[in-house]
């Protein structure tokens, strides 16, 4: 990435995330920084997921979504992508992750296997 300062809200938050195969894998729903005693806050993660979005609508909706997600388990909970996995920030944010192997696509995969492929014409 380049030397210019990056506008985290304008240019990163809410942008499309694309994995290393060019697969869309959600949006940058949240950005987490770590405060440190001895230096500037570190930009740590990008977060993807329903609970993160819900918290942005209202703290109470956020809490409700977080507890709901815990019950559904993997895939419903927010997923964190370490900042170091970012390859580039442009129209889309390219991250060095394989989306199909992350929980971000768990629901998509479940739908694919249990619903879509059972309807005629749904298979590849």
């Amino acid at each position: 990435m380049d030397e210019e300062p990056l506008d985290l809200i304008k240019d990163v938050l809410d942008n499309q995330l694309v994995d290393l195969h060019g697969r869309r894998m959600g949006k940058a729903d949240g950005i987490i920084i770590e405060l440190r005693k001895d230096g500037p806050p570190r930009v740590a993660y990008i977060e993807v997921g329903g609970p993160t979005l819900a918290a942005r609508l209202h703290p109470r909706i956020g809490k409700w979504a977080t507890s709901l997600a815990k019950r559904f388990g993997v895939g419903a909970e927010a997923y964190r992508i370490p900042w170091s996995k970012l390859k580039s920030v442009g129209i889309d944010i390219v991250v060095l992750v394989d989306a199909e192997k992350t929980p971000v696509l768990a629901f998509e995969q479940w739908l694919r296997e249990h619903v879509v492929s059972r309807i005629p014409g749904g298979k590849t």
Partner: protein
């Protein structure tokens, strides 16, 4: 959010959700409102990305939304000079309670921010 629980996990470091910080009012040491956080600038330092400064105030919002040209372009709705905005260096903002961000210096010490 369960910010506090996450703190304990991280041990020593505290986590702050930037998406929830946006729009929060910043107060000065005398508890006077200075403006809302609208933008966070990051830069690369020794191979890691760190927060450089926070932009606060209506000017920062208008900059983020790039609303100047439309406002001017349509009816002259927005007049340029009247909107306050400040650059807050990372070490001048106390985020120990992310719900109530606080300046650690006087407003007068901050660099003014004016949109393009």
């Amino acid at each position: 959010m369960s910010d506090r629980e996450e703190d304990k996990k991280a041990g020593g470091t505290r986590e702050v959700h930037l998406e929830l910080l946006v729009g929060k009012a910043v107060r000065d040491p005398n508890d006077k409102r200075v403006g809302l956080i609208e933008e966070v600038l990051a830069e690369e330092q020794h191979g890691e990305w760190v927060v450089k400064e926070y932009l606060i105030g209506a000017a920062a919002l208008l900059e983020r939304l790039s609303a100047w040209p439309v406002g001017r372009g349509i009816l002259g709705l927005i007049r340029k000079k009247e909107y306050p905005g400040y650059r807050v260096p990372w070490d001048k903002l106390d985020l120990s309670d992310p719900g109530r961000p606080r300046l650690t210096c006087a407003v007068e010490e901050l660099e003014k921010f004016a949109p393009r």
